[in-house]
């Protein structure tokens, strides 16, 4: 069974437990999840459940559907994924899966023109360029990084202080190989190998964590942003 927590301005406004195989999201009353805001299309997106999981499908909406801050048209979604529609955040909890549906066209939807939405769209476009150029998911150097962009092409990318690791990081008391980023199919995860507490994802120390688009990875004092190519 799946659950969607709908947040607006970081306040939880609704929790939806899903029993259907197809869940519609949009501004108007016929939707399963109603987001009453002019930035949301009447039929904005759907979440569809199939054998392999849940899929979010954007219904050519005007302002777009974002999965973990990346604009998507149709993507698999997983537990803890964050769907953003207009000013709404929909946090997906899975023991099944979820989908959104909306319609986009010019159906009376107000064009979102907030600073945040603009930034999101701009970064989304930049990120698309980055992964297109790299031909793979990418780490973007944010702080104390030796590189601007690093293509994650290997099955295992090592991170640490040793001379031989792929990604060198800065900081005290780090292990030679502090962490590894493992690619399985199109899915990436980071696993801490060295001393505990030195690998963080979005500010939280992790031993092992699946990576999602936009995740901020810190190893020691170095920080990278994970930009995911389409799953």
């Amino acid at each position: 069974m799946a659950e969607i927590v709908v947040k607006y301005d970081d306040k939880v406004i609704e929790k939806v437990v899903i029993y259907k195989r197809r869940v519609s999201i949009g501004r108007t009353a016929e939707n399963d999840i109603i987001l009453e805001n002019r930035g949301v299309s009447r039929k904005h997106a759907i979440i569809e459940f199939n054998e392999s999981g849940a899929v979010i499908i954007d219904n050519e909406s005007l302002n777009g559907t974002f999965l973990n801050d990346r604009r998507v048209t149709e993507e698999m979604i997983r537990d803890q994924d964050m769907i953003t529609i207009g000013k709404y955040h929909l946090l997906f909890h899975n023991s099944a899966e979820e989908t959104h549906d909306e319609e986009s066209d010019y159906d009376g939807t107000m064009i979102l023109n907030t600073k945040k939405q603009k930034q999101r769209l701009k970064r989304n476009d930049q990120d698309k360029d980055i992964v297109r150029r790299a031909g793979s998911s990418v780490l973007v150097g944010e702080d104390n990084s030796d590189f601007k962009e690093y293509a994650l092409e290997r099955e295992v990318t090592t991170v640490g202080k040793a001379k031989f690791v792929h990604i060198k990081v800065k900081g005290f008391f780090l292990s030679g190989i502090q962490a590894k980023i493992v690619k399985e199919g199109a899915v990436f995860s980071i696993i801490n190998i060295g001393r505990k507490g030195k690998t963080m994802v979005n500010g939280e120390p992790v031993q092992s964590s699946l990576l999602r688009n936009g995740d901020l990875i810190s190893v020691g004092r170095s920080t990278f942003r994970f930009v995911e190519a389409s799953r």
């Binding site: 001379k163 030679g176 502090q178 190998i193």
Partner: protein
């Protein structure tokens, strides 16, 4: 100064303990470990702990790489793969953290060290004969490269006139005008038909290199292999040193 070099312990605790005790008798100043702490054998955690506590330079071998999940054991033979799967389950977080500080290559004065080959330390080439040795000399600057990996003691000498020879020695004086690649053999799984644990010391004052062979209780190592459900052949090969 006397430096001891050990390699390819492969989780054979019996062999490692006896070897370290023997090294202690030589009054060495430093012990360097050339990789493959784990894989094959039944005692990976105590072996990693002993190596971390006793060795100055500690290197990673191909089995250690696989044990840290840095590469898949695809290139391993069936027995190595089965024991690596067992090792992956057995290895403690503490051991993993310790091994995360091991290096791929290192230098101590005139000595270069890596597990397999100076040319490509992470591709695990074997240096088995003059042919495979001759192309390696240009990939390190020091006088001597110490390696492991093949489990076969080997001594390659490149003289000032560029001739390269392979000699079978137990002791030799290092000529200051020559360069060397020295395979220090294996502590935990010798393959030169001598089942005794093997290690090397270098006396830097007199430029003398020595191979040491140490007997240990192989039956204990075999009992441990059996009790941990590892393939029987891993014990059998210890008895005959191959």
């Amino acid at each position: 100064m006397i430096i001891a070099f050990i390699s390819d312990v492969h989780a054979n605790l019996e062999a490692l303990q006896v070897t370290l005790a023997d090294i202690e008798k030589q009054h060495v100043d430093r012990i360097h470990f050339l990789g493959d702490a784990v894989g094959y054998g039944p005692e990976p955690n105590p072996c990693v702990e002993l190596i971390a506590a006793n060795c100055d330079i500690k290197l990673l071998g191909n089995h250690d790489f696989a044990a840290l999940g840095l590469e898949t054991p695809d290139s391993f033979n069936e027995i190595a793969r089965v024991s690596m799967e067992w090792t992956l389950k057995e290895l403690s977080a503490r051991s993993t953290t310790a091994m995360a500080d091991f290096e791929l290559e290192a230098i101590d004065g005139d000595f270069y060290m890596t597990h397999a080959s100076p040319r490509t330390p992470d591709l695990w080439e074997y240096i088995l004969d003059i042919d495979s040795a001759c192309s390696q000399f240009e990939h390190f600057e020091q006088q001597v490269a110490f390696v492991g990996h093949s489990h076969l003691p080997a001594f390659f000498c490149k003289r000032a006139d560029d001739t390269i020879s392979q000699r079978y020695i137990t002791e030799s004086e290092l000529d200051p005008d020559s360069r060397y690649i020295i395979n220090v053999g294996s502590v935990g799984q010798p393959r030169d038909h001598d089942p005794r644990a093997c290690y090397v010391t270098v006396d830097t004052k007199n430029n003398i290199i020595r191979y040491h062979r140490v007997e240990y209780d192989i039956s204990k190592a075999i009992a441990s292999i059996d009790s941990h459900g590892l393939p029987q052949i891993l014990g059998e090969r210890l008895l005959v040193g191959r």
